[in-house]
Symmetry: C2
Amino acid sequence: MRIAEIGEFGLIERIASRLPKPGEGVVAGIGDDAAVLRASGDKYLLTSCDIQVEGVHFLRDRISPQQLGFKAVSIKVSDIAAMGGLPRYLTISLILPNETAVEYVDDLYEGIQQACELYGTEVVGGNMARSLAGVIVDVFLVGEVEKERVLLRSGARVGDALLVTGHLGESAAGLALLLNPEATCAEAHRQRVLAAHLTPRARLQEGRAIAQSGLATAMLDVSDGTASDTGHICEMSHVGARLWAARLPISEATQAVAQATGGEARQWALQGGEDYELLLTAPAQWAHELAGLVQRQTGTGVTVIGEIVPAADGITLSQADGTQVPLDKGGWNHFAQSTDHCRL
Amino acid sequence: MRIAEIGEFGLIERIASRLPKPGEGVVAGIGDDAAVLRASGDKYLLTSCDIQVEGVHFLRDRISPQQLGFKAVSIKVSDIAAMGGLPRYLTISLILPNETAVEYVDDLYEGIQQACELYGTEVVGGNMARSLAGVIVDVFLVGEVEKERVLLRSGARVGDALLVTGHLGESAAGLALLLNPEATCAEAHRQRVLAAHLTPRARLQEGRAIAQSGLATAMLDVSDGTASDTGHICEMSHVGARLWAARLPISEATQAVAQATGGEARQWALQGGEDYELLLTAPAQWAHELAGLVQRQTGTGVTVIGEIVPAADGITLSQADGTQVPLDKGGWNHFAQSTDHCRL
């Protein structure tokens, strides 16, 4: 059997099922945004890694090396933010073709450095190797979080509200513009969605505010797509979810780009992925207080987009006309044939 | 300028020189076997990563997936051992072609798991992505070490003895056998050098014994080659070194394989690399006590192979006839054209 047949999640599940039970030091291992680990300190360690492969995750002529470096770090900080933690130390593996220009690597590190400054983290090591096909960047991040404040995917309870920071679908809108360069829309909209796709910002302050509030029950970041990521929370928490289509926070820019490119803004919001917004649950009675608190502390809006229901009810989308449709997980699956295209 | 022109070490130096000064949390960053980091605990965190690229570091038809998994973990544990630390948590990135057999991944993880059991560490997370050319394994390891026991590369002092655990050149002998399958030698010798190359053991207990003794001044593991790795200690410690050719610990098996394949055992010992022995320095008056202590505690021999001299004297090899020759760093440089061959 080839890995393309079981897909990324199938392969991860298969590997995880064959590993021994996690030891005492592992609070949360495979299956969350970051591993949560006991070490000698009074905080939990958080570790997470992510790979960017040329021709799979990005095309070298569509994203500059600065943007790629910035994005690779942001993605990792986003995972630490999704645990309620603070990023500390970055380790970076570069796998590069021999003919890579030194200036390309310089620029890549400039982007990495800009992100480090923004998030208060730093590069402490790395490794380099020769690639036989394309540039590959693998970023490892170690963070820390107060033990009583860590937010896992597994804490959602029936009756909780489902909330999300910022806007959904902007990254997919940016991708659509890159793939349809002839499409025309207002410059401000173009800039906004391209930035969302090429240089996403991790919701670090927001994640800290949410974790410190003590009001949230589960959290992750929207990397695979809202539908798929809601599925991750549901699976780990043994619950279902109902999303309200009309409440999905979709920006004017995303709507405009959808119109210009013939795309569907709602589909982008649900399945586009790479938004790096925080998706979280909180008891319904605290949801609006939590949203207000984050807005005041960080300036970022937080929207209630659904509710947690019993697992038997599955994951559904309530549409404006009152009908409910099962929500296809969709999302990004690195090995599946159907998604055998590039992200930028 | 292409990266092939400045080489791996040149590129690392260039990147390191452009990064801001390490922050307060970084005890040792780029340039040692592992980064040494302050976190909330009373020990230092150690982090290190290493990449194995098919066609660059290994050939898929010469090393089984179990061996590859075992080796990838051993190499990382070796770096933590070289700091005097204990490995804690592994994170593994797999970059795999779509057509990879699921069983290949199963077997890879079996080897990873065998190594985890041997070294008392565990896999806590990872990431997968699609590769456009070959299997790539990137292993990230977090360890810990008591603050007063960490051993850096930078602690060697003029007058120190230079010591090494075990034997040198066996991994290169194993590689020579793999590249010359028609060569004949005693089966025991064949087994020994192949194991050294395909399933090296990290000197974890030895590293702990050396660090706990408090007698050593600097340490690293022999990955690039004894000559090159001695150069790393000298560079970081601002000293030179004189190695004694007659003292290099070369096993009977390595000698036999050199004879069978037309190779040079001494060259393998000095420049072969991938031995994963520990190379260390200690005040000359304590060197034999330290060697005896490690031998008693772990059963592994430790040999005095040279001495630390002033930087101005460079790095030289004293030959049996009394002549001294400058020691070419040699070693493994991932991007240099001259070493554009495969390791297995």
